[in-house]
């Protein structure tokens, strides 16, 4: 594995891998300027993105103009906070005023929104500098980010493997040091799965915690927005800027926003950690299972009480989540599916056609089941503070790998094998973060998923931070960087 500062890498590598927090601090002390760091990232994008395909649109001129404005404001003593002047990337699913928002599709290839998504506006208000719009699965409907219109996104840890999806471009960009952090969306695991496959922290907050106004929908009742970062503290820092009510998102929650960094170093002594007995350790890659069980032992060593817990809700939650996703996605795409079918990626179109065969009663049965399953799942947290599971059942598959063959003789498509453990929590709406938890013998990152009760992002991040301190990953660098 290559090390920081090694020879033969793209320019500005050490600066490029600073955490958001460290970068913000250097900008505050004026040891580094927003323009300087923005140029570092733009140079690295120019050097590495022709191979990675992490970006659909690079907004270099706009980024430099915004970085210049940030530089002047900081020099004038008008620093807005820890994100001021920090270059970030935005998944191309989020509306950006005056900048095309393709959703990874040909259908929206020329769509230029008049306004920013709420979360993009919040990042701008915090002074962040978007450097571009990242590649993704078409309309966020898949797990590989092998986009037929804008290039097949590659994994910086092994360019012959997928970066995951649907937020694969955001993950590849952060992992390769092309930006300090990125925004992703997650309707079945699309933040957490690519974070796991690319060695990052990916946070899906509680449903309604972060606005989805101005985000091209996939599954209205399961869409979530969140940060993808290289450290847990950075995820907390970004969530602080993103979270809060938004009257323009009908699903937005008025629940008070916590201080996500305030208690993040409190450790896990005395906390109750549950390892689900059902579902999450069935058909899982051996290295992944060993890493997750090792993470549980690590937390136990830090004073947590780890116990196996039943979770019979997981399998039906996965089933109901799939049905709701199929129905809601097809409902959104109905008009284009009838008028522009040839403009879709054939794999995405096939998924949309499946949704057209579901009955209204199927959808409503899944939504009724959801109410029962959420009630039951929330009660689990009377006994535990967090649940630990693998994020993906397998590490990053090869780009040409379509089926995973399990030792029991069954086969599963890549989408199922990499999203099976995450989708459960889109249906349930619970906060969940994926953090790096080791690697395969071949050096591919593995992900640990930590799940909490509704609106317990601070608890989930606290456990993630304790794990991160015990099993540090941040200093690792992928070969393609």
């Amino acid at each position: 594995m290559s090390q920081p500062g090694g020879p033969g890498h793209a320019p500005g590598r050490d600066l490029a891998y600073l955490s958001v927090e460290a970068l913000g601090e250097r900008l505050r002390r004026r040891e580094l300027s927003p323009v300087e760091i923005t140029r570092v990232y733009l140079d690295r994008i120019a050097a590495l993105d022709p191979e990675l395909h992490a970006f659909i649109t690079v907004t270099a001129d706009q980024a430099l103009a915004e970085a210049t404005a940030a530089e002047r404001a900081i020099a004038a003593g008008q620093r807005r906070g820890p994100l001021h002047g920090v270059p970030l990337a935005i998944k191309d699913l989020f509306y950006t005023a005056g900048v095309r928002t393709t959703a990874g599709s040909r259908i929206l290839a020329d769509f230029v929104p008049a306004e920013d998504a709420t979360v993009v506006a919040r990042l701008r208000e915090a002074g962040a500098v978007p450097v571009g719009k990242t590649n993704m699965e078409e309309f966020a409907y898949g797990a590989t980010s092998l986009n037929p219109h804008y290039g097949a996104c590659r994994n910086p840890w092994d360019p012959e493997r997928i970066a995951g999806g649907s937020s694969g471009g955001s993950a590849a960009a952060v992992a390769a040091g092309l930006c300090a952090a990125a925004l992703g969306s997650d309707s079945g695991g699309s933040i957490r799965q690519p974070a796991a496959l690319c060695g990052l922290v990916g946070l899906k907050p509680t449903y309604g915690r972060v606005s989805k106004h101005g985000v091209v929908p996939l599954s209205w009742s399961q869409d979530h927005v969140g940060p993808m970062t290289r450290t847990v503290r950075d995820a907390a820092l970004l969530l602080q800027a993103l979270a809060g009510p938004d009257p323009r998102d009908p699903a937005s929650s008025d629940a008070p926003v916590s201080d996500y960094l305030g208690g993040i170093e409190a450790g896990v002594a005395g906390l109750r950690v549950g390892l689900p007995r059902d579902f999450f350790f069935e058909r899982v890659d051996a290295a992944t299972e060993a890493a997750v069980r090792g993470a549980a032992r690590t937390l136990e060593g830090l004073g947590a009480r780890v116990e196996e817990v039943p979770m019979p809700q997981a399998a039906p939650a996965f089933a109901a989540g799939a049905a709701i996703l199929f129905a809601e996605a097809t409902a959104y795409h109905e008009r284009w599916l009838r008028t522009r079918p040839a403009d879709y990626d054939p794999a995405v179109r096939a998924r949309l056609e499946v949704g057209a065969t579901l009955l209204a009663t199927d959808y409503l049965k899944a939504q009724r089941a959801r109410r029962l399953l959420v009630e039951q799942a929330v009660r689990l947290f009377d006994h535990v503070d967090v649940l630990l599971t693998p994020t993906s059942a397998v590490p990053a598959p090869r780009r040409d790998e379509h089926l995973i063959r399990w030792p029991d003789g069954t086969e599963e498509d890549v989408r199922g094998a990499t999203l099976r453990f995450t989708r459960v929590f889109n249906l349930l709406g619970l906060p969940a973060v994926s953090v790096p938890c080791g690697e395969t013998p071949g050096g591919l990152p593995l992900g640990l998923q930590i799940v909490g009760r509704p609106f317990a992002e601070a608890m989930v991040l606290r456990v993630a931070r304790a794990h991160e301190l015990a099993q540090p990953w941040e200093a690792r660098r992928p070969p393609l960087s």
Partner: protein, 73 residues
């Protein structure tokens, strides 16, 4: 608990997709059989839950303002 639905035939899928306004060739209909059967099985598996007292999770709320214009769907 009711019996699970049988694997849908091409004719069933043709009827459903036509009703949805789609005109799919035979090859596309054939390709739908397996994934549709899997989704039907997933939905039918929920019959094992006791849902008698449960309304659907909220898909309607009077709180908040309407979302902004979508890009056209």
């Amino acid at each position: 608990m009711p019996d699970p639905r049988p694997t849908p035939s091409r004719a069933t899928l043709a009827a459903l997709t036509t009703a949805a306004g789609l005109a799919l060739p035979d090859a596309a209909l054939d390709a739908l059989v397996r994934p549709v059967a899997a989704v039907y099985a997933a939905v039918d598996s929920l019959d094992g839950l006791d849902l008698a007292e449960f309304e659907p999770a909220a898909v309607f709320s009077l709180a908040g303002e309407p979302p902004g214009a979508s890009p056209g769907a």
